[in-house]
């Protein structure tokens, strides 16, 4: 059987080291956990019970049990852990002291940089890992509206927020296309749109199959419609992070080029310790907005993660 990475051959010109990508995609994803900053007192108490210093972290607790623990290069309070087969069956997980999440999925919250007390909208929030990541960074102040169309996918979001003790999340089960415009304006928004999931190629049931490649072009319409609606809910000066777990320019640059007007700027950004490639300004014979090169495309072989694409957009404040 042809390897799943071969579904990505259309991007060969964008990839610096094709063989490295193929090799990486054959390896399973590292297990990554982050410590819940809202539960610092609980971690302290467990650390003391385990005979550690009270400043010990969840990473230290796991290390004392013989797991190999490596801090992430780009984010404090998160670790790659080896030898932990069932993280959901630990006291740390039961008590909400930690959360298991794919490493690259932590990046959108970092780029969004929500602050305590702000009004945030996570437009396509389920299953909620990114919502949790945003909300715990706000110290239980302000509001994160976590919206998703599918109520059954909101269940894990709800149970994760409850387990982690997140008190500033409001859950709404609304079709984003019809999200009420008088609900805004929001200071910051995450729009992690439904996509063809090419970046999941290292998961146990990867979405990248040739049969699904028809979705690359088919999704663009919905993505642009959601972006158009979201944009109306963002306050002038506000930040919207557009992300996909896919590589296709049809679901990233082309959507932004189509949906954004002159009141939008795609801002440059970089996360120290997490390598990305720039976006494209030409694709399939089409010339795109020049600021599309400020997108960040995360290839699996660059950081040993899943694949992801992120754009940070700012709504320009009208002058006069």
């Amino acid at each position: 059987m042809e390897h799943i990475a071969h579904g990505l051959e259309r991007y060969r010109d964008l990839i610096d080291d094709w063989q490295a990508l193929v090799d990486t995609s054959r390896r399973p994803l590292p297990l990554v956990v982050w410590e819940n900053p809202l539960r610092r007192q609980h971690v302290e108490r467990l650390a003391v019970a385990a005979g550690l210093d009270r400043r010990a972290t969840v990473g230290d607790l796991l290390a004392t049990r013989g797991h190999e623990v490596e801090p992430l290069a780009w984010r404090a309070g998160a670790w790659r852990v080896r030898g932990l087969d069932k993280p959901g069956r630990t006291l740390e997980h039961y008590l909400g002291l930690m959360h298991v999440q794919e490493e690259i999925s932590l990046a959108p919250a970092r780029v969004l940089a929500a602050e305590a007390g702000e009004m945030i909208l996570d437009f396509c929030a389920a299953p909620g890992g990114k919502t949790a990541c945003i909300a715990v960074g706000m110290d239980n102040r302000g509001t994160v509206v976590a919206n998703d169309l599918r109520p059954q996918r909101l269940r894990p979001l709800r149970s994760n927020c409850e387990r982690l003790g997140i008190r500033n999340v409001v859950i709404t089960p609304i079709n984003g296309i019809r999200f009420p415009l008088d609900a805004g304006p929001f200071d910051r928004m995450l729009l992690d749109v439904p996509c063809s999931c090419e970046g999941n190629l290292r998961e146990s049931r990867p979405a990248t199959r040739r049969a699904r490649h028809s979705q690359v072009e088919g999704r663009g319409g919905l993505q642009a419609t959601l972006l158009g609606r979201a944009w109306k809910l963002l306050r002038p000066g506000g930040v919207l992070v557009y992300s996909t777990c896919t590589f296709a320019p049809e679901e990233n640059e082309l959507v932004l080029d189509y949906a954004l007007g002159e009141d939008a700027v795609i801002e440059p950004f970089a996360i120290a310790g997490l390598r990305h490639d720039p976006g494209v300004t030409h694709w399939a014979g089409k010339e795109l907005r020049s600021d599309c090169d400020n997108l960040a495309r995360y290839w699996p072989h660059h950081n040993d993660t899943g694949g992801f694409t992120i754009a940070r957009l700012r709504k320009v404040v009208a002058v006069g």
Binding site: G96, N168, I171, A183
Partner: protein, 159 residues
């Protein structure tokens, strides 16, 4: 889905919690209280703002069920606010904690000082001082109230 969340005066629920578990006043400071349906109280950030969005399917975390004769704190509330409780608390050893998380009933011997809790009612079960859930205390027995969906047989407890 579809139940409304209504902002309510939290004073009676705060008072009940502090009376029941003798937590310091600052433990629940900076919270707002929301009612869903007739018997469910939720707790959220003080400045949380659902605005004019409808329907809403969750505000903060569930705190208290008031439908029965005896009010019942939720598992998440006990874990969140039970660290500094000093009344109606029962400390469990490792074996008891494993059985508690497996939703079993734990019996205390007559000479066990922990069996001297005065009231029939919900108590906070702790392990090494960490709240692991609430249980119904009745004449020297502790009936685990860990919800089925959160219960665990054979948790990996190493300390």
């Amino acid at each position: 889905m579809g139940d409304r969340y209504i902002l309510v005066d939290g004073a009676p629920y705060l008072e009940w919690w502090q009376e029941q578990f003798a937590t310091p006043p600052e433990t629940l400071r900076g919270c707002s209280f929301w009612q869903r349906g007739r018997f469910s109280i939720w707790i959220a950030a003080a400045d949380v703002e659902p605005g004019e969005i409808a329907p809403v399917d969750g505000v903060g975390i569930p705190f208290l069920r008031t439908g029965r004769e005896v009010w019942k704190p939720t598992l998440v509330a006990v874990i969140e606010f039970g660290l500094d409780a000093s009344r109606n608390v029962v400390e469990l050893d490792r074996d008891e904690t494993l059985r508690f998380l497996d939703r079993q009933v734990i019996e205390f011997a007559a000479e066990d000082a922990r069996g001297a809790l005065p009231n029939r009612g919900f108590v906070i079960a702790r392990y090494h001082g960490l709240p692991v859930g609430c249980g119904l205390w009745r004449r020297g027995t502790l009936e685990s109230a860990v919800p089925k969906g959160r219960s665990m047989a054979g948790l990996n407890l190493t300390c």
